[in-house]
């Protein structure tokens, strides 16, 4: 480890880092703007100047930009040097000459990196007395507010948007002292990662437009660590509340998962919590009732009937387990159709065997080759697509710097060397995707053919099966891919359930297994549909079909349906049949939907913001989300609390109290062995530091004695939280909390999200105390994995039948996020994709309506001709209005 001397004190630092990173890691406060830990250095802002000396005898030294200088052993530098300090102060004075100083109206105020750095450098008086340059702002869509006057030209926005996230419609224009960051003309920022601009921008040029609708300063938010609910990746978020409404979602750093960024679906999809459509009161036969009446009614409904439970892929582990506990293992079903269930079971079986490790997003970023089989991750797991992009770019950078050594953080230089060199990435999907542009090889094929290609690749790497009836072209492609993969050391194979095709999953496993047999360190990632699909699959309940058979057989059934709209994921005919056969239907959910309409007893459940829970992400990572605030409506409670109450009613032990989170999670651990260790995902509710809880509110929280005074002048006692070590107040432990319970990032002098620097072991590295979450799939050593040998026949078109497959959309395919107006506005109109040949055969053109006929349902959509689509497949937008309950993966008829 190199030793450097900062102001004559010696420190050990990590080699290969730049001086700025080293200083920040050591805890020094050194101002910076353009450098970003995820994006490296470009040396644009001149803010991080320090003085470097030749040796210990040099007294004059010279000023350098610390972000542009690598650490060297024996380096002498000074942060406190007078000239360096004066330089930094002068730079910020320049930057501030044109800054409008409009902090009172600026949304960034209070979490502004520019404010922090200005205070840090000591620039406190404005000497520039002339006119400031001004710009015309642009309309950038529903998510991002633009205020160009505040710009300090650090270039972070375009570096993130274009270079990091691959966006095309944000750029820098003009020159000199009037450069402009924006779009060519007004319009929505197209990238699904645009929301990160609000955090990347060190000042208030790009701010969260949804927060603006109900603006609250960072210091006034009651926040809690949360986990994103809108896909299976499980990004860590911080949710903030004030006046009983959820105000915003910001990133919560987790080095292994989402790092510094979030996708727009996750960041802006929170409005469903504040929706008008929330279920607010318990209902019995569509009549609102109070708690006593509800409990009384539940007693009659729950006893003397046989109970079945329908678990939900979007409810927490606690809620699903409480349901299982209520109805018993053999009566626990998943709200998932048999086909999908089998896929998820296959995934859990593969991961459970532990032969091939699951790739975290960080591992995907660090992978030197990526193979995507049949999953449009850009739309089903956007952050994973961003990670794949980093893998491709970083691998390209590494290749380019092999001959000309250049540290990784030296971004511009690496890019210059790299030019268009990219890492190896194969994107094998049903149709074209947004990741195609960075892929080394794009293949569009039908699911079975994707699987066959996968098996062929695996066979090339490690001959394990006899390939029959394989086309030469497929074998040739497989050989090229296999040869490339054999050059890599830690490739990642990504696949998922979107193809509704089991062989694809097996093929992905075979590739990984073959690579392992070839001495590589492969990892695999399976994208599943919802935020807790993996958790539900791990519970190994029966599929919904079994539940339907059960109610057909048994007349006296009370069904408890947990947090899901059955009509969304299952064909309406089957759900109707199921519900009509149930004697009693108890539904717990947070929002009204088609299933809650049919409920005999409807119980309001909390969303992620009003309750505690644990979700299991695609990588089997159990992550805890905490209640953000106590809703005014006392009926809104976690489903697991309601379900435990029901259990008490049945057992006759009702005492009017809710169980605590700790007890639920520990019974889950004992009851289901596959979840052993899940309680380590978060500290228990009794956890405290020096006898203090962790405050959800910053110490500057304002208005405590006035906020509720309009309702009641007497101040109520703060609500105690029996479920977590967090308190609903501003009092408590002010130091660094455990990494899984960080309600907000703040350190003295660091009000902006960049305060995360102070929570990391090293800059851009793991959080102090390790990254949040527990991975439940344990790696097993031992034998080599067994290969799957049964590859499918190749895809054959059928007469007058089409294979129905989903086309996911970042905006629109998710059930809850579309309650946000911005996301609803960006979701496309549902359409049906057909190959040109099929369209011609059906004699339809772009836009003409075509009806899909499955067993019982009929759907009609306008046609979109998709060039890249194979014949015999019909693609339909997933999850959009009018596409509920489609039987994906089945053969359907089409009619004009």
């Amino acid at each position: 480890m190199p030793k450097i001397f900062i102001d004559n004190t010696s420190y050990e630092v990590k080699a290969g880092k730049n001086v700025l990173e080293a200083c920040l890691t050591l805890g020094f406060d050194l101002p910076y703007f353009c450098w970003h830990p995820a994006m490296g250095s470009v040396g644009a802002c001149r803010q991080c100047a320090v003085k470097v000396y030749k040796d210990e005898n040099d007294t004059s030294g010279k000023i350098i930009m610390s972000c542009m200088e690598g650490v060297r052993d024996g380096m002498h530098l000074s942060i406190d040097d007078k000239a360096a300090k004066a330089f930094r102060e002068q730079v910020i004075e320049w930057l501030m000459t044109n800054h409008p100083h409009d902090c009172p109206v600026c949304d960034e105020g209070g979490s502004c990196h520019l404010q922090d750095m200005t205070v840090m450098t000591g620039h406190d008086y404005r000497r520039y007395d002339y006119k400031k340059r001004t710009y015309v702002n642009q309309y950038l869509g529903p998510f991002i507010h633009h205020e160009m006057n505040r710009c300090i030209q650090c270039y972070r926005c375009v570096r993130f948007y274009k270079d990091y996230a691959g966006g095309k419609d944000l750029n820098v224009f003009a020159a000199h002292n009037h450069v402009y960051f924006g779009r060519e003309k007004d319009g929505t920022l197209e990238s699904p990662f645009s929301g990160n601009l609000a955090e990347v921008c060190p000042t208030g040029v790009f701010t969260d437009k949804t927060l603006r609708q109900h603006y609250t300063r960072k210091w006034d938010l009651t926040s809690a660590p949360s986990v994103c609910q809108h896909c299976s990746v499980g990004c860590n978020t911080i949710a903030g509340e004030r006046y009983g409404g959820l105000r915003n979602i910001v990133n919560r750093y987790n080095a292994e998962v989402n790092g510094y960024f979030l996708c727009d679906r996750g960041r802006f999809g929170y409005e469903f919590v504040n929706s008008e459509n929330r279920i607010t009161k318990p209902q019995v036969m569509h009549q609102a009732v109070d708690e006593n009446a509800l409990m009384h009614h539940l007693e009659t409904v729950l006893t003397n009937h046989s109970l079945i439970g329908i678990g939900s892929p979007r409810a927490s582990m606690e809620s699903n387990f409480a349901l299982l506990d209520l109805v018993g293992k053999e009566n626990f079903f998943c709200g998932v159709y048999n086909e999908e269930m089998m896929l998820e079971r296959r995934i859990t079986d593969i991961l459970d065997s532990g032969k091939i490790p699951v790739a975290s997003l960080k591992q995907i970023e660090d992978a030197d080759a990526v193979v995507i089989l049949g999953e449009d991750i850009w739309n089903t797991a956007p952050m994973m697509a961003l990670a794949v992009r980093q893998s491709v770019m970083k691998t390209g950078g590494r290749e380019a710097t092999e001959k000309t050594p250049m540290p990784e953080w030296h971004e511009l230089a690496v890019k210059e060397l790299q030019q268009n060199t990219k890492g190896f990435m194969v994107n094998v999907t049903v149709t074209e995707t947004s990741l195609d542009e960075i892929a080394s090889l794009n293949i569009n094929a039908a699911p079975d053919d994707i699987a066959r290609l996968g098996f062929a690749i695996a066979n090339h790497i490690h001959p394990s099966l006899e390939l029959k009836n394989f086309e030469e072209a497929v074998l040739a492609k497989a050989k090229t891919i296999a040869d490339e993969l054999l050059k890599c050391s830690n490739p990642v194979i990504i696949t998922g359930t979107s193809c509704y095709n089991d062989p694809v999953l097996r093929a992905a496993f075979d590739i990984a297994a073959a690579l392992k047999a070839a001495g590589k360190a492969p990892a695999i990632a399976f994208v599943v549909p919802e935020c807790n699909s993996m958790g539900l699959a791990m519970m190994r309940g029966h599929a919904f079909d079994t539940a339907v058979r059960r109610v057909n057989r048994e007349p006296n059934v009370t069904a408890v349906i947990l947090e899901q709209d059955l009509y969304r994921n299952l064909p309406a005919g089957i759900v109707d049949e199921f519900l009509s056969k149930c004697r009693n239907i108890i539904v717990l959910d947070s929002l009204n939907n088609a299933t809650t309409e049919k409920a005999h007893v409807l119980i309001p459940a909390s969303t992620f913001a009003e309750g505690d829970g644990t979700l299991i992400s695609y990588e089997g990572r159990a992550q805890r989300y905490y209640q953000v605030y106590v809703p005014d409506n006392k009926y809104i409670r976690e489903s697991w609390k309601w379900l435990s109450r029901m259990k008490m009613i049945i057992s006759g032990k009702a005492n009017g109290h809710d169980p605590h989170h700790d007890s639920v999670i520990s019974s889950l651990e004992t009851a289901l062995r596959q979840f052993a260790g899940i309680s380590a995902a978060a500290p228990s509710s009794g956890f405290s530091i020096h006898g203090e809880q962790i405050p959800r509110e910053p110490h500057r929280y304002s208005g405590r004695t006035a906020m509720l005074a309009n309702r009641n002048v007497s101040e109520p006692k703060p609500v105690a939280d029996g479920d977590s070590p967090l308190s609903f107040t501003m009092e408590g432990y002010q130091g660094t909390p455990p990494s899984s319970a960080i309600p907000f990032f703040w350190k003295p002098g660091w009000n902006s999200p960049q305060a995360v620097n102070k929570y990391q072991q090293e800059i851009g590295g793991d959080l102090i105390g390790g990254n949040p979450g527990v991975r439940l799939f344990v790696k097993s050593s031992g034998n080599m994995p067994e290969f799957f040998k049964d590859y499918p026949e190749h895809f054959r078109e059928r007469q007058n039948k089409w294979l129905l497959l989903p086309q996911s959309h970042v905006f629109g395919s998710d059930e809850l996020s579309v309650y946000s107006a911005g996301i609803a506005g960006r979701s496309p109109e549902p359409y049906m994709g057909l190959s040109p040949v099929d369209a011609k055969m059906l004699d339809v053109t772009e836009g003409s309506q075509v009806t899909i006929k499955s067993e019982k349902e009929e759907y009609s959509f306008p046609v979109k001709i998709v060039e890249s689509l194979r014949n015999g497949i019909v693609l339909v937008s997933k999850g959009l209005p009018g596409t509920q309950g489609m039987s994906w993966g089945n053969w359907v008829e089409l009619a004009k």
Binding site: C103, P104, V105, G109, G110, R212, Q213, H214, Y215, T216, R217, W219, D220, Y243, R700, Y701, S702, G703, R704, T705, A706, M707, A709, N710, V713, S714
Partner: protein, 187 residues
């Protein structure tokens, strides 16, 4: 015993004469002092008909200020609330819509602004924190009230009268502040 000061005055213990025992001179002397006060200025005033002028540093009820055209100065930045040691201020920001430029001076305004006067300690830190000259402590104090909820002052209680629509009430609400401001600007 040694005296601590040199101001010790020996008491005259000479017995009083008969004339002195009548106290006539002393009574006259006292009456003269009383008589003298009849012609002096009174120390009290007839409140509430008469009101005293406040000291220039007096801190009374908060006022939400308007500019000369009657637009609200407050941009709901939240600095008064965060400065308040009693945590007695709360507000909700809203965005100015096109067409509301005559109502609010800047692009944001306080849709709700409430002070809990039972909690307020009239320290003036809100006024000090305000970057927009939007809140200041006036020369009136909170009147008594029959109910506690009457002390939760909202925007309608705090806003200064409109300078153009109600110029007299505006001047009155401004109090000596106008003069002080003039003085400050002339300096």
């Amino acid at each position: 015993m040694q005296h601590l000061t040199n101001r010790a005055k020996p008491v005259d213990r000479k017995p009083m004469t008969a004339l002195e025992k009548l106290y006539l001179w002393n009574i006259a002397k006292g009456m003269w002092i009383t008589l003298k006060h009849i012609f002096k200025r009174k120390a009290t005033i007839n409140f509430p008909e008469q009101r005293r002028e406040f000291s220039p540093v007096f801190r009374g009820l908060q006022v939400l200020n308007r500019d000369a055209e009657g637009r609200e100065n407050c941009t709901a930045c939240g600095l008064c609330a965060v400065a308040c040691p009693a945590e007695a201020i709360t507000m909700e920001a809203a965005e100015r819509q096109p067409g509301e430029e005559h109502l609010y001076r800047e692009e944001k305004y306080a849709a709700k602004y409430e002070i809990n006067m039972l909690r307020c300690i009239f320290c003036g830190l809100c006024e000090e924190a305000c970057p927009k000259d939007a809140v200041y402590l006036s020369e009136t104090f909170a009147p008594s009230n029959y109910q506690r909820k009457g002390f939760i002052y909202g925007k309608e209680d705090l806003l200064i009268p409109h300078p153009k629509l109600e110029p007299e009430a505006y001047q009155q609400a401004l109090g000596t502040r106008a003069k002080r401001q003039e003085k400050a600007s002339s300096n």
